[in-house]
Structure formats: structure tokens, C-alpha cells
Amino acid sequence: MSLKDVIHDIEGYQDIKSEIAVLKKYGFDYSAQRGRLDSILDMLHPKKLRLCVSEIIDETKSAKTLRLVPVQGYLPPFQAGQYISLVVEIGGVVTSRDYSMSSSPSQIGYYDVTVRRVGDGFVSEYLLDEAKPGDEFASSSPAGNFYYNPLIHGRDLVFIAGGSGITPFMSMIREVAGRGLDRRIHLFYGSQSPDDIIFGQEIEDLSRRHSNITWTSVISDPPQGYQGRAGFISADLMKEVLGDLSDRMFFLCGPEAMYTFCRKELAGLGVPGRRMRNEMYGPPKNITACQGWPEYIDADATVSVSMKGGKTITVRSTEPLMNSLERNGIVIPSLCRSGECSLCRTKLLKGKVFQPEGVKLRKSDRQFGYIHPCMAYPISDIEILLQ
């Protein structure tokens, strides 16, 4: 005998059986739910977007805005400060880079991304010199954790931007101005020269029309006879311009060196860590200068990377593993390319990699040998498991 044989002896069993019988007749018909899951997902977080360049706007001599419209359907919403990972194919190599939206989230017809030249940059150069209206790109959905949180950030915001780091702030400023939001913003904007100031005119106009938006432009390499502020965004400057710093929330976006400098300055002014937030910056310019980099490995050292059950390639120790893989036609999923999002999570079977501070591995991922190849530098011959 088993429960099956005596189950009807349980008190209430028959009543529930009858209830079920009725429900089977009149209950919800799920067959209409075919495809519903994907359609809900596509409205908020589609896996991939296809975008078309509708217009290219010259901003400065070194920066352009690409206006991107959806090839079909709608653009998913984003929070001002978020980015998309734009996929490009250049000379047979498929890779991707992140660009923060500079347009307001209220602008639901397009995403603007503003790209600045970085010297010998692979993708920025392509986007600035080759991209033209009508070109199509794949991209991720909007992502990233650099945005304003009304629950904890308060109403008094200070933005510290360096160079192309202005882009997420432009989105935030445009949103606050456009929606008339009750937030006070002061922007410190560091540029190399006066010609490098992206969106200068628009920021100036907005700050004239909106008393809650103010800004200070700071030039690091001022030309002869320059009248405005010159130098760095220092503690003295912030104290002078802002006065009382308590209850302010600081957002930083710019080159790595700026974070190190400004965070220290802010800490010196007594700003607690939780009142500062900075955007990621991608792999460091020069990994050999990073703290903890093994000195015995020089800048042009090479090692071999073998993929379990697949090919073996030779790579440079000083290039992120992900880039080397892409260069060899092996594309692994990526999003932040800064070690934070874990999308590229890969199992290291043998050998050693260097992962600079800032790579956000889960504790148990570390325990079980996972690495984030977008910010992992192979410092010995390695074997990885692509999953």
C-alpha cells in the first residue's frame, strides 16, 4: 500500500479534487501565453539591439555624436548615466566598446553616443573616421551602475567630468533640465584645452535658463592668455566653488588618473566614500604600471593560451586576454570590459593571470578558478575552458 491508495482518506481531499475539476474547466487558458515571455523581455531588456546611425554631429575637433535609431521596434529605457556596448567589425576583428548615452532618457526616439578620439584607439578611430549615416551596428541593451538613485543620493549633486567623461553627465543634466526635476547640480568639467570642451555651449545655455544647474570649466593645458580657470579639479577649487560640502553626492567620470586624484582630494575634505561614485574606465592604459604587476614580466612578453578542446594561440601578456582572443577570431560575451559585470566569466584551468584591483570577482568564482578575461592578463602559459 502507498499513500496513493489511501489519499482520499485525508480530510478535505474530495473537496479539493472537485475544486480542481471546476478550475480545469474555467481556469486560465495558458495557450495564449506563447511567446509572451520574450515580448515582455524585449520591452525592457532585449538581449541585443540593432541600431542605425541616423545622423553624425560634430562636437569638437576630436569628438562626434552618433545618433542611433532602432532598426526596428523600440529602444528600451535606460537610466541617465548608463551605456551600451557597441559591437563593431574592423578588418575582420569583431570587438565591442562601451559608450554612455549622452542624450536624455526622456528622448525615446534615439540614443546619442558621443565618441572622443583617444590617440591610437582601435574602435574610437573607426567610429570617428569611418562611420556614416545609414551604418548599422549591433549593441547590448543599456547597462551599468553609474546613475542617480533618488533613494539615497539626495538632491545636491556634484559632477566631476574629465574629457569624454562628460557624456553620462550630459544625459543626467539634460534629463534634470528637460523634466524640471528637483535636483541641484554643479558640474566641474576638466578639459585639456578650450577647444576640447564637448557640449560647452549647451551646458552654458542650460545653466543660464535653470538656476539649479551650474558649472565650472577647468582647463589643464591653457593656451597663452587664457582667462578662465586652469589646472586640475582640486580640493581648493571645490571648496571655493561649493562652500559647504555636507550632504552632497559626488559623481566622477573620466580618466583613471582623475579618479585617483579627485577621490583623494574629496576624502581630504571629509567626504565619506559612500558619497562618491565613479564610472568604470576599462582596462588601464599601462598594465605594467599597476600595483602588483609582476616585475619580471616585460611589456612585450608573450605566452600561449590554449582553449580546452580547441586551438592554442600566442598572446601578449600586457593585453587583456579578451582582446587577444578577439584578435584571433574568438569572441566571448562581453559588456563592461572593465572587470565588473562578470559577463565574460571564464574558467582558468592552468597557469596564471594578473587581474588588477577593481576586477569584481565573486568570492566563490575566485575559489573555483574563474577569471574575467576583459581585465585578465595572462602572465604564464594558460589553459582556459570556454563554456
Binding site: 479539493i16 474555467y26 486560465f28 559577463l343 565573486r362 563554456q387
Partner: protein, 497 residues
């Protein structure tokens, strides 16, 4: 075309233990997962200095090494215990009604009875009687049902036959008159996702019994450590896994599984599929309509999609004491009307009951030194969220979270001032990461009519098996167990061939 003995769809708890059981039996197994990490709900994510635990608040059924519970036995069997370190929680929970009432119960029967008698002197006699019932019932259930007594009968197990399907509320009303006491005692209804009015006493009693007897647990590294350990052991046993690679179609022929097509368009051959995706999704979107018998879909008509969750994950720049947090598990409540609290899950109204868990209280290493984290969760259905227009989604999310934070501040004044990192997950977030309709975290609703006694869980398609919340019941212990049971079913069927 590559061939596998079995393909497992989804690396949630059920998929992982299922895949591992098959691999350990020497079978060639492919595990497909849409997301980039194993675990489904059982996962974590990193923000700033913090690794946030997504789902696990209290692990049930573990027990100690000396007095192992059923889950410990399962994990032992799966060979993952030596990779994991478990943390026992001393207290069952605290219930706090700001400015009104505050009580903490130890995870120990006599201590609970004493504490409750102290606070509810009028119910002094009733309290031990109620626990006699909970324990008496549970012992019968363990003997009769779990150990499959071949002589099971109404006469031999009177409490089981009387109470298994009785609404919890009816039993509570029979024993007590103080609504506050009833609320405190039955607060775990929110773990089941069904209010006492509709929760079977069987489900409730065994849950309370198991948490008291086997103690609530957590583990070092959070639930992701468990998921990673299961996956690691799976790989060590020759299992193959593909992440960022969902299953798109289950191919069948003449009512029998023949293969699986992945999102990337690859086809693999197999005669067995173990699906950890929801049953609904499996039948609706993974199979051709003409391959699913009509009765199968109609069988779902008596069920409804269960709750999802709204969670706020917070990383603080100070220790728990500084925030007045003394317990790991804090239920914050503002009502004794559980039906009303439950009804709110279907709306965008402010919650009546929510759970605030601070892991660092029982595991000081959980967050970096000098910090701590909390997960503040209320269950909520996906429906109201699917009606929010996409461009109002973020505003809606903050508005709802603001209401939750006001509740949190009532229990822990000033917490907001120490938040360094915060992430908010809505039912839509769970829907995205789990691929379940409604973002359901416990599968379908688990009313009494949905308990296993009434379910025909054998699939009409040969070779198709299910594991996880949708196949049985939600929660860690049931889903981890379900994968192993389903895999054993597959192994049995394979052996017949």
C-alpha cells in the same frame, strides 16, 4: 551531430543537482544555461565592495553533521560537502512591528514556547499544545510519507490524515485567539508565498518543524558558492556546460524526445531532457504546439503563476550594531491581517510584511571588514509590473522602493544614511534572469490544491523530465532535492533500455 545521454536545460538548483546526479552516474550530459552564471535564483552579484546574495535567506533541512537533515544527506551524496562551509543561525527569526511589538524566537522548541508564553500569558496553555500538534503531525508525516510506510493508514497516522490539507488559519483559530500571536507564529507563510487562509497545515507545519529541528542555515560565499560547487563537481565528472546559451527547442518525434536546439542554432541529439525551465515555458515556447497533448496545457488551468519578489540589496559602510541590527532574520510587519498583506502582493501598494536579512550578524565575514549588507525583500506578483509602460519602469521602481525604505527605517532608524551601494530588483528583474513568466521564484502558486498530492507530474512526452520549483515546490531544499529525484527517474528509465 553531437550526442548526449541527457541534456539539462537551466542551471538553477534543480538543473544543477539533476545534471550532477546524471554525470556522477557516468552519463554524458550537456547543461545549457541562458545566463552567464550557474544558480538561477541561487546566485550573487557584485557592486562596489559588496557581493550581494540574491535569494538565500534561510536554508532549511541542513541539520548539523551530528544530526544531519535531509538536505545535508542530498549534498553529501552529491559529493559537494567538502567544498562548502555552512553557517548555523541561532535564532529562527525576529518579528518587529515598529512602535508596537518586537519579539525574537530562538531556533529551539522549548525556548520558543517559553518566549511566547512570556509575551502572551493569556495563551499560556495553548502554546505548548500547538507545538505538540506541529511536532506530532510532522513526525507522522516523516514516518508515513517520507519513509514511505507501506502500512500507511488513517488509523496509524491520525494527525496526518486530519490536518495535511486543513488550512493553517483554521488550525491557528482553533488554538489561539490573539491575532498578534497567530501572526508571529505563522510568519513563515511569506516563505511559502501563500497566506495562512490558503496554506495547507501540512506545508506549514513541516516547514516550521524543519527550521526548528534542523535550524536555519546560510553558507560562506552565499548561495553562489553552492551553485559553483555543484557545477564544479559536474565538470569534474565529465559534464559539459554552455553558458549564455539557452535551449530554444526540444525536438520530439512520435511523442519521444530526440534532441535539443540551442539559441545559437546548434542541434544536439539526446533521448532525455531534464528541464529546469518552467513547465509552462517548456510546453509553450520550447515545444511545437502539435507535440504537446491538449490535456497537458489544460492541466495548467487549475494553477496560477506564483509570486516573484521585490528586493532591495544594501551595502552599508558600517557594522550591523551601528545600525541597530541585532538579528539576521527580521520580519518587519505592520499588520496582523495576513490576507490583506497577501492581497497587496498583487498591487503596487505599500507592503504589509517584508523580510530584512543581515547576513553579517551570523557570519561576520560575509561583507568586507567594517561593512555589512542586508537584503530587504517582499514577495510580489509580476502582474502589476508587466502593466508598467517601459519608459515609466525606473520611476515606478524607485517609487515602490521608497515605500519599502520607509518601512525599513521604521525598524532601523537611520539605515538609509549608511548605504554605500544599493541595487533594486523587481519581479521584472527576476523574470529577466530566470526566464519564468511573472518572474515567479517558487513556480506556480502553492495553494493546498497545488500540493504534490494533486499533481500529475509525469510528462506525457517520453524522455522529458522536470526539476525545480515549477515541478514540485519552491525554495532551496525542495528544488535541490527535486533535481536529484528527477535524475534518478531518468537513470531508471535508461537502465530499462
Amino acid at each position: 551531430m553531437p550526442e548526449y545521454d541527457a541534456v539539462v536545460i537551466g542551471a538553477g538548483n534543480g538543473g544543477l543537482t539533476g545534471a550532477l546526479t546524471l554525470a556522477r552516474a557516468g552519463r554524458k550530459v550537456l547543461l545549457l544555461e541562458r545566463h552567464n552564471v550557474p544558480g538561477g535564483c541561487a546566485t550573487s552579484f557584485v557592486r562596489g565592495r559588496f557581493e550581494f546574495e540574491v535569494a538565500l535567506h534561510q536554508l532549511s533541512g541542513m541539520g548539523s553533521a551530528e544530526r544531519p537533515g535531509p538536505l545535508r544527506a542530498v549534498l553529501n551524496d552529491l559529493g559537494v560537502m567538502d567544498k562548502l562551509e555552512f553557517v548555523e543561525m541561532e535564532n529562527l527569526y525576529r518579528v518587529v512591528w515598529p512602535d508596537t511589538f518586537d519579539i525574537t524566537l530562538r531556533a529551539e522548541r522549548n525556548a520558543i514556547v517559553e518566549t511566547l508564553q512570556d509575551r502572551f500569558p493569556k495563551e499560556k496553555e495553548n502554546i505548548p499544545r500547538f507545538f505538540d500538534l506541529v511536532y506530532g503531525f510532522s513526525m507522522e508525516m516523516v514516518q508515513g510519507l517520507f519513509f514511505k510506510d507501506p502500512e500507511i493508514s488513517k488509523e496509524k497516522y491520525p494527525l496526518f490524515f486530519k490536518y495535511a490539507l486543513t488550512p493553517t488559519r483554521k488550525v491557528l483559530d482553533e488554538y489561539f485567539s490573539d491575532p498578534l500571536l497567530k501572526a508571529v507564529l505563522s510568519i513563515y507563510w511569506s516563505y511559502a508565498g501563500v497566506p495562512p487562509t490558503w496554506l495547507s497545515f501540512g506545508d506549514f507545519a513541516i516547514m516550521l518543524f524543519a527550521y526548528i529541528e534542523f535550524k536555519p542555515y546560510h553558507l560562506k560565499g552565499g548561495s553562489q558558492a553552492l551553485s559553483n560547487a555543484l557545477l564544479d563537481e559536474f565538470i569534474n565528472n565529465g559534464g559539459e556546460v554552455r553558458f549564455n546559451c539557452g535551449a530554444k527547442k526540444i525536438a520530439t518525434k512520435g511523442g519521444r524526445v530526440t534532441g535539443v536546439v540551442t539559441e545559437q542554432g546548434d542541434t544536439v541529439q539526446t533521448r532525455y531532457v531534464l528541464s529546469n525551465a518552467s513547465m509552462l515555458q517548456t510546453y509553450l515556447d520550447l515545444m511545437d504546439p502539435d507535440q504537446v497533448p491538449r490535456e497537458t496545457l489544460e492541466g495548467f488551468r487549475s494553477t496560477s503563476i506564483g509570486p516573484s519578489a521585490f528586493s532591495i540589496y544594501m551595502g552599508f559602510d558600517c557594522e550591523p550594531e551601528e545600525l541597530g541590527i541585532q538579528e539576521t532574520t527580521n520580519f518587519i510587519t505592520t499588520t496582523t491581517d495576513m490576507d490583506k498583506a497577501f492581497a497587496r502582493w498583487k498591487t503596487m501598494e505599500q507592503q504589509g510584511v517584508a523580510l530584512f536579512t543581515c547576513y553579517d550578524v551570523s557570519d561576520p565575514d560575509f561583507s568586507p571588514p567594517g561593512t555589512c549588507q542586508a537584503a530587504f525583500v517582499s514577495l510580489q506578483y509580476g502582474d502589476p509590473w508587466s502593466l508598467v509602460p517601459p519608459h515609466q519602469y525606473y520611476d515606478a521602481k524607485y517609487r515602490y522602493a521608497e515605500g519599502m525604505m520607509e518601512l525599513a527605517e521604521k525598524a532601523f532608524p537611520g539605515v538609509r544614511g549608511h548605504i554605500e551601494e544599493m541595487e533594486i530588483a523587481t519581479p521584472m528583474t527576476h523574470l529577466r534572469y530566470l526566464g519564468h513568466l511573472g518572474g515567479a521564484i517558487y513556480g506556480h502558486d502553492q495553494y493546498t490544491k497545488d500540493t504534490p498530492y494533486f499533481m500529475a507530474n509525469r510528462s506525457p512526452v517520453q524522455g522529458l523530465y522536470f526539476a525545480g520549483a515549477w515541478a514540485m515546490q519552491g525554495g532551496f531544499q525542495p528544488t535541490l532535492t527535486s533535481g536529484r529525484s528527477a535524475a534518478k527517474g531518468i537513470l531508471k528509465s535508461m537502465a530499462k533500455k
